[in-house]
């Protein structure tokens, strides 16, 4: 592997073998703080030194099960999980009649009132979408069940829907809750639910589909992007699938099945024949081996290494590993939890080719800063705006393909945004020109060196030891150039270690290109 030599500073080359193609589990003896940190970064948004220490002490099995057993932990979200569902409600019959009358009689004043009313509602709905965005960001930052939010984000990227198209914030909220309910549950159930989800039905035009003229949009993406991948089906399957999905629509915020608009004739989809409806279509998909393989690859892409952007070529060994994950997914009847358990416990997952090689998504970067460095949140609006500038506005994926991720997150412009937002979170400073004012919330970084203090009080007063400790924790390595640069910085401040110099060091560390990796 070309990646191997770059890890010489992490672990000596001779103890690292090639990346395993099996699902063999990691030996508890090899699960230390580095591995615990990796697990927290990937299955969540990273952790504090203390959390890392705890997970390392627990060992791999207990640590992984703690992250996976979402039911075992209760969480009261900061705000109630409730939003106004009536902002974009359909017109009442009375309103509808009045509108029809105004159109017939060309009552321009009445029509203008309707237009103004509609624009007011759209404005209110966009405001609510902002509220929901900040609500989700808060959940990610606070939750004791980080994997639940991480999987919600995974489904949001896989079964992508954008507010920009559907312009209904409550539908987006409902869909988000659906993804959370199925976080580590059954993918099969989720697929059956998604063809009943108002946001998705609107996004892919299934509400415009009819028995006489089936709309193929949902049928196509259901196979191409949500389950099988390109090439695992034919155009005929799309046509037949679209027929099966006719009559699947919604009224207000509820799914309705319109039997009179459903084509109940015989169909042939993939390897299934019969009078198939939407569930029959989904069953036909789930029976395909390509389905489990596709979902396994997408999970791998999200949690382990990028394969969709081509930065990790699928060689024979990786191909076998993915086949094994796919096999495991079929064996569990598409239950996600057992598959993630195998992945998170595998030796493969903790190989140097996997650890510290992934480019953080904007959500991972921003949420991770609070959860690992313990920065103040300061202003959720600024954080959301920053994420948008980095290319990830929650509830607004760029297309039905979701976010491409990987290297596409990074260019010169987004890199500055990433560095500057971290600077803001650490220090509260915003450059002139932003709407929001600088924030004065104090940041106390000293808990980050608690462990150092405990083990060796002298080291905790030594800038170089502190620099090494911070680097190890944040970027997983202590490159000489970085240690030197941080030491130089501290020497400008009398080589004292205090909250100001530690914050300064973190401003520098988070601006390092390596900090973008997890």
């Amino acid at each position: 592997m070309p990646g191997a030599q770059s890890h010489s500073q992490i672990s000596s080359a001779d103890e690292v073998g090639p990346i395993p193609s099996s699902l063999d589990a990691i030996d508890a003896l090899n699960f230390g703080p580095r591995e615990a940190n990796h697990l927290l970064l990937r299955a969540g948004f990273g952790g504090t030194p203390r959390q890392i220490e705890t997970l390392a002490e627990w060992g791999p099995e207990r640590a992984v099960d703690h992250l996976l057993n979402l039911d075992g932990i209760t969480y009261d979200p900061p705000e109630p999980d409730a939003f106004d569902k009536n902002i974009m409600r359909p017109n009442t019959p009375a309103e509808q009649n009045e509108y029809q009358r105004a159109r017939r009689q060309r009552d321009e004043d009445a029509l203008a009132r309707f237009r103004a009313e509609r624009q007011n509602r759209q404005r209110a709905d966009r405001r609510q979408m902002g509220d929901i965005q900040r609500w989700w960001l808060t959940r990610m930052i606070e939750t004791p069940k980080p994997l639940e939010e991480k999987m919600t984000l995974f489904w949001h990227g896989l079964l992508a829907t954008s507010y920009r198209t559907i312009e209904n914030s409550y539908h987006m909220f409902q869909q988000n809750q659906l993804y959370r309910t199925h976080a580590v549950g059954s993918y099969a159930d989720l697929l059956r639910a998604i063809i009943r989800d108002p946001a998705m039905l609107a996004y892919l035009d299934n509400n415009d589909s009819s028995k006489r003229r089936p709309n193929e949009n949902l049928a196509r993406e259901l196979m191409e992007l949500f389950s099988l991948g390109v090439g695992a089906y034919t155009e005929r399957d799309i046509k037949e699938g679209a027929r099966a999905l006719t009559g699947y629509t919604f009224e207000d915020d509820r799914f309705v099945f319109k039997a009179d608009n459903h084509d109940d004739g015989p169909k042939s989809i993939l390897s299934l024949r019969g009078k198939l409806d939407g569930d029959g279509f989904v069953s036909a998909i789930l029976a395909q081996p390509a389905c489990a393989r596709y979902i396994a690859a997408r999970l791998y892409d999200f949690f382990a290494r990028h394969i969709t952007d081509g930065s990790t070529p699928i060689d024979r060994d990786l191909d076998r590993f993915l086949d094994r994950l796919a096999h495991s997914l079929r064996k569990s009847n598409y239950e996600v939890k057992p598959v993630l358990r195998e992945l998170f416990l595998s030796r493969h997952f903790y190989h140097p080719d996997v650890m510290r090689q992934r480019i953080k998504s904007p959500a991972e970067l921003v949420v991770g800063a609070v959860r690992t460095l313990l920065t103040p949140v300061r202003d959720l609006g600024v954080l959301a705006q920053g994420m948008e500038l980095m290319g990830q506005s929650l509830f607004h994926p760029p297309s039905v393909k979701g976010w491409d991720g990987g290297r596409t997150w990074i260019n010169t412009s987004t890199l500055f945004v990433r560095q500057n937002l971290l600077n803001y979170m650490l220090t509260g400073a915003l450059p002139n020109g932003y709407d929001a004012a600088s924030s004065r919330d104090a940041y106390d970084p000293t808990p980050l060196i608690d462990g150092l203090k405990r083990d060796d009080p002298n080291a905790a007063a030594n800038p170089e030891a502190v620099a090494r400790s911070l680097l190890g924790f944040t970027v997983g390595a202590e490159p000489d150039a970085a240690v030197t640069a941080l030491r130089h910085f501290a020497s400008e401040h009398g080589s004292r270690v205090n909250d100001k110099t530690i914050t300064g060091m973190l401003v520098l560390v988070t601006a390092m290109p390596e900090y973008q990796l997890c």
């Binding site: 081509g310 400073a429 601006a511």
Partner: protein, 453 residues
Amino acid sequence: MTNLHNDPSKSNAYTRREFVGAGLVMASAAMIAPSFLHRSAFGMPRAVEGASSIPGVPEDHILVVVQLGGGNDGLNTVVPYADDAYHNARRGIRVLEDQVHRLDERGTPVGLHPAMDGIKSLFDEGLCGVVQGVGYPNPNRSHFKSMDIWHTADLSGTGTGWLGRYVDAECCGFGAGESGTPDRPDPEGGATARAIEPPIAIGREAPLALHGGRVSPVGFETPDLFRWTGADVHESLDAPYHELAGRGAAAAGDPHSNAAFLMQTAMDAQVSAETIRSAVDAKPLVDYPRSGLAQQLSMVGNMIRAGMKTRIYYVTLGGFDTHSGQGGQNGRHANLLRQFSQAINAFYRDLKAQGNDGRVLTLSFSEFGRRVSQNASGGTDHGTAAPVFLFGPMVEPGVVSRHPSLTDLDGGDLKYLVDFRTVYAAILEKWLGAKSEGILDGRFRAAPVLRRS
């Protein structure tokens, strides 16, 4: 037309020495020169052979898009002053025959709004084309949706941006994104990336039009925001930051790793931030008005003058959503048109003084026009088709296409005559040298808006 980048024999052109002398190339960057330097060579004209990073693509052609946001009232911009239907529908906000700048007497006589002297003088010099009645089928009257449709060139308004796809198409495979990691290592050791520079948008957010699948645009309101802000907190952070950011890809070991990619991009960011800042800091060759749009265009003018190889620039002027108190000869809409017109005029005087006018095509559009009849609040509501302006010596000057009928309407709205995608097709094919079919996801016959070269 063989336009080189800034001709160094002209006194006003930038030279390489000026750039290096300005101290913007950091010591570390000079040792392992970032790909940005390799490719742009700071605007020095290059010999034809082997200079073009993409064979057959005219690298010196630039497109500037001016977005008029909010829905510009086309009928009060290019006024059908002799049409009674116009005057009857707009008693309170109309512009009179003796007020307009007359453009064309063939077909429906039209004239520019009286506030548009600046564009009228470009028109008289043959530097302006007016395409009338531009729109698309089943017009959408939502600002967001219609803007998305124009940006994506897709009638459902979904997907990537049309100019983003253009850059994608020029940019090739994996690893040759903005930071120009070469697809193949060059035996000479130089960067051979086939990548082109990402588009630059002036503004808080980079518009959807510029977002491709692979390449995303660079966006900034002022160059002061396109930089690392850590040193604002304390100056002692500046030197160590540059030590860390300037390490270059070699520090990562494996050149194919994500770490190497990030280190390369970090170094490119340093250099391009410095380049842009130093370019924009220069005093323009002509005086620009103080309006927002003029200031944006003066930045673009300076970047072009500095020889940056960016091919797509994007600027915006908002406020055209004139539902009430729109005004006629004077007033709110007139002020917006004056800003637009004066800014464009200054921009082309600047480009001409630079000797770069022949390299720069400017397109201006709005997401929709407005309804034919004014409303009860002395304004106009969201409509449909509207004129598109093109500027530069390469445009087919004059008025293109008929004026849409003011009596044969679709529910009170103009029927479009020219599909905006045929204008895009012309720009892609005839100016940017790209095949439009893949980028626009369909075959559109290029509208006759550019001169035959």
